[in-house]
Amino acid sequence: MLHIKGLHVSVDDTEILKGIDLIIKSGETHAIMGPNGSGKSTLGYALAGRDGYEVTRGEILFKDHDLIEMSPEDRAGAGIFLAFQYPVEIPGVPNTTFLKEALNSVRRYRGEEELDAMEFVKIVREKTKELGIPDDMLKRPVNVGFSGGEKKRNEVLQMAVLNPALAILDETDSGLDIDALKVVANGVNTLRSPERATLVITHYQRLLEHIVPDFVHVLAKGKIQCSGGKELALELEEKGYAEFAQAAE
């Protein structure tokens, strides 16, 4: 589904990613762990198509199409979803309006009928109930005044509504209480299917107990230093990153 080959990404002329190779197949769940500043979020932004994240070398193929040439909205339409590490506040735009515009845009892209207000509300109600999100969070402006945990839940709600083929979760677990963590993990797990894939960026083994990964990668200094199965996360927990970072020297 996703094939990243020798990816180099620069931000403001500073090279952050220095040759990433990663293959994610349908049905798989991958986890990326790594020290602060190693480039995890940069990888997420590069996949989502953020301006200023310049791919200087390498390629990204998504379902055999060149992702780099596509706008962020086209990538979303094609099925890529990035849950932001720091969700953005948008004063004045109600959360429902945002969700509805997003869902209908993605549906248009996929050649599906747009939903009317009634149909939309039905879908959203269903998802908010599953995720334990209070209705007033829908009426409020996007993320404005939301607590850290509420923002993360809101990311998961968007993911659930948009139903992406590849979900990238950038530290969606940080700032969540234990119950919320389970709800979020549950949200991710219900999306798991042979046609979908998930890339989880996290610092904590704890999340990976709920979302069990098929592969774990260690990203340090802009490169994947090492990959393994879910045991690797446990090993990291014990030893820390120092060893892997040194390996890169």
């Binding site: 989502a48 198509g49 953020r50 301006d51 379902k63 199409h65 596509m70 706008s71 962020p72 909205e73 086209d74 990538r75 979303a76 339409g77 094609a78 099925g79 979803f81 990035l82 932001f84 969700p87 953005v88 506040e89 948008i90 004063p91 004045g92 735009v93 309006t97 945002f98 515009e101 997003a102 869902l103 845009s105 993605v106 248009r108 892209y109 050649g111 402006p141 968007q158 948009l162 083929a165």
Partner: protein, 454 residues
């Protein structure tokens, strides 16, 4: 006096016999005063502090003749309204400044409300009219009011009688254009709210078709004790129009004047509001929004004067400038010596969508009392790129995402509109304006069909 002052008055003798109230002594003398005053002062120039940022070049390069009844063949379906679904909304319609009874709809005016044209007002109650016209809008030092006073050819004269409360808005519609050559017209409106009266008016200025024209409008307003006037306006003149409007308001004890002005058009538009809070407990809400593009220039100049203790005002202006458009915001709050316990707040925020757009902001507080609460703030910024990316990363096409951000930016001003139907209609107006200006999201999603994923 300068030569171009002459061009505005040169037709005066020819036009005069056809003006409302010609031959009526008191009105004649008012007109003559206006003419003398305008001759003496001439058009405002950059030498006047208030006009430093707005130059009237558009009036220098064109000669405008006064509009007549024969100007402008307008179709009733072209008339602007905020309530397109509701044909029962009372309205008075002027085309190039001339009353069009066939388009107006005043049979269903509520009891206690009268709406006339200038001419109609002379017939209905000349004494009342004479005692109110020219009382609030002063010609001294204001050449545009002077010019309007000399030339006023029509306008709406409204009286809402004591304790009459009307929820449903009444529309005052001015359309212009579709004339043979450039014309000028001079609407003069008068709105008098008697004690305890409560009503809502919506004033439209819309340009139909192309071609330059000049609107010089003056509106005088009296809001008596315990009364409330909600006065909303929509300025959507054409891209060659020059629109100079001033509103002069007097607010009494425990009375409220609430205004919102939405500007979306005009080569050059300037809306001036002068509000005097003359009774304690008086409140004024002076708000507005503007969306400019191309080379449009929009000026909002306001003066709120607190004359007595315990008065309050709140002012929120939000503007969006694209291309090479320019705007000017000059907001002044004056608190006179006796006006203790004044509560005044003013806010102006501008969003620049292009790096060639420009704003001049001049907020001013002039305070002579010592026990007051006053604040002002002004900001200028660009579209939040982080928010834009967030929206796009959810599939929302760039153009639609920008529109959403623009709409949400303006929403803060629209929320000041207390009449909920009007607020909803204005929100709709902003949405259609902001999506009009860039190609719609649909186009982009069609383009996207190139990528098909199974």
């Amino acid at each position: 006096m300068n030569s171009n002052t002459d061009t505005f008055l040169s037709d005066y003798e020819a036009v005069y016999p056809g003006l409302p109230g010609s031959g009526v002594k008191w009105l004649d003398s008012i007109r003559r005063c206006g003419m003398e005053e305008f001759r003496a002062q001439g058009l405002p120039t950059g030498r006047t502090e208030d006009w430093k940022y707005t130059r009237l070049r558009s009036l220098e390069d064109t000669i405008f003749r006064p509009a007549t009844l024969e100007d402008g063949e307008v179709d009733v379906n072209q008339l602007p309204t905020l309530f397109s679904g509701d044909s029962m909304v009372p309205r008075i319609v002027f085309v190039n400044g001339c009353l069009k009874t066939e388009f107006s709809c005043m049979d269903n005016l509520p009891d206690g409300v009268t709406v006339d044209s200038l001419r109609g007002a002379m017939d209905r109650d000349p004494e009342w009219f004479a005692s109110h016209l020219g009382q609030v809008g002063c010609i001294d030092g204001n050449p545009l009011v002077a010019l309007n006073t000399a030339m006023m050819n029509s306008g709406a004269v409204v009286r809402v009688h004591k304790d009459t409360a009307v929820e449903k808005p009444i529309e005052m519609i001015f359309v212009a254009g579709l004339t043979n050559g450039p014309v000028a017209y001079y609407p003069r409106n008068l709105i008098v709210m008697d004690e305890g009266a409560d009503a809502t008016f919506i004033q439209h200025h819309t340009g139909l078709g192309g071609g330059p024209y000049f609107v010089n409008s003056v509106t005088e307003i009296e809001v008596s004790g315990n009364a409330r006037l909600r006065h909303y306006s929509v300025q959507n003149e054409n891209v060659e129009a020059t629109h100079l409007a001033s509103i002069h308001v007097r607010v009494g004890c425990d009375a409220t004047y609430e205004a919102f002005c939405m500007s979306t058009g005009g080569r050059l538009s300037r809306n001036e509001s002068f509000v005097r809070l003359e009774g304690s407990g008086g409140h004024c809400g002076l708000n507005g929004a503007y969306m400019m593009r191309g080379k449009e220039h929009c000026d909002n100049t306001t003066l709120i004067e607190h004359m007595v203790p315990y008065t309050s005002c709140r002012e929120v202006f939000k503007g969006v400038l694209d291309d090479e458009s320019r705007s000017v915001f000059q907001g002044k709050i004056t608190v006179h010596k006796d006006a203790q316990k004044t509560d005044g707040r003013m806010l102006s925020k501008t969003l620049l969508l292009s790096d060639r757009a420009e704003i001049d902001t001049k907020p001013e507080l002039e305070i002579y009392a010592d026990d007051v609460k006053c604040a002002h703030g002004a900001t200028t910024g660009q579209l939040n790129t982080e928010a834009l990316f967030y929206l796009r990363s959810r599939g929302i096409p760039d153009a639609l995402a920008r529109s959403l951000l623009v709409e949400s930016f303006i929403a803060e001003a629209i929320e000041e509109i207390s009449h909920l139907d009007v607020r909803a209609a204005m929100t709709g107006l902003v949405a259609s304006q902001s999506s009009n200006r860039r190609c719609l999201g649909i186009e982009i999603s069609e383009k996207s069909e190139g990528y098909k994923f199974e």
